[in-house]
Assembly symmetry: C2
Homo-oligomer: 195 residues x 2
Amino acid sequence: MSLVLDAAAQDLLFREARTANTFTDEPVTDEQIQAIYDLVKYGPTSMNQSPLRVTLVRSPEARERLVSYLMEGNQAKTAAAPLVAILSADIEFHEELPQLFPHYPQAKDFFGDRGVRENAAALNAALQAAYFIIGVRAAGLAAGPMTGLDFAGVQKEFLDDDHAPLMVINIGKPGEDAWFPRSPRLEYEQVVTTV
Amino acid sequence: MSLVLDAAAQDLLFREARTANTFTDEPVTDEQIQAIYDLVKYGPTSMNQSPLRVTLVRSPEARERLVSYLMEGNQAKTAAAPLVAILSADIEFHEELPQLFPHYPQAKDFFGDRGVRENAAALNAALQAAYFIIGVRAAGLAAGPMTGLDFAGVQKEFLDDDHAPLMVINIGKPGEDAWFPRSPRLEYEQVVTTV
């Protein structure tokens, strides 16, 4: 075996973890989300930018508003999930760099241009979104990430001009018939080349 | 404990894993990269798009060319790393959708517009880049991801118009003084809000 990570952890995070489309009624607590965050916050980003922000949609009224911005095929499962989160990128992340990158006080100055910040925030928040999905699985929960939605509508309804939504994630214990058969993956030779 | 993942795995992947700036001479084999890929290929992407591509820069001549496109502060460590990989997003990923999403033959038709493909590839390849970083750590190796580089130059030198570079990653066993002190992370309350 070329991996050090134990097989049970490999299964939990990757091999047996699946994108869930149905969930049980078991609630997902703030303590679980805090434990997930306290683990995945250590995942690396460029200059420790850490632009990911998470909006937990807990009130029934907010849930209803969110569902109206999803593609029809994503609506029923999102209405029924124990917890739904909007993941977004904070385009003003540079304001936190003096806290996040204290040994290099000039770091904030690299990000005076909003276009530069938008690109950096999009990449690094996406990295953190992936860490978050892994963290949900580390908590023994299933994630159902979705990008089939009206992004401008979700931004206007729940966020502001400085927070760009990346995806919405349903979170919970998988229910009955929670997933489709696993789709094929690309072969190593289709993905990895050597120069 | 709110997490199911065992503590040793939490440490290996997140808490004790660090972005390495120095490495030992121990080689990183193709078998290790294949084992990493065979694990992280299961990480979820939208419609199983799987746009990440990996270029392993193994020849000394290619390494030298790559180093010339990096910011000065990244050059010496990249010249000395056991293995260096360019991660890129395949903007023509939709050509593989009939293989990747076989139960929905129309999937490819969603991506006729190149701008739509560029956005989807950027997000989903970034998710997969994060899974890859986690996979490098799962192999007991350290990753040194870098975005301080001339992206257009790397694309022209190593890729083509349909492959957008995301980052370069140094990979190996951490060496002496491999990392800076851990930078602070944002508090939970700075990241997570509830509606």
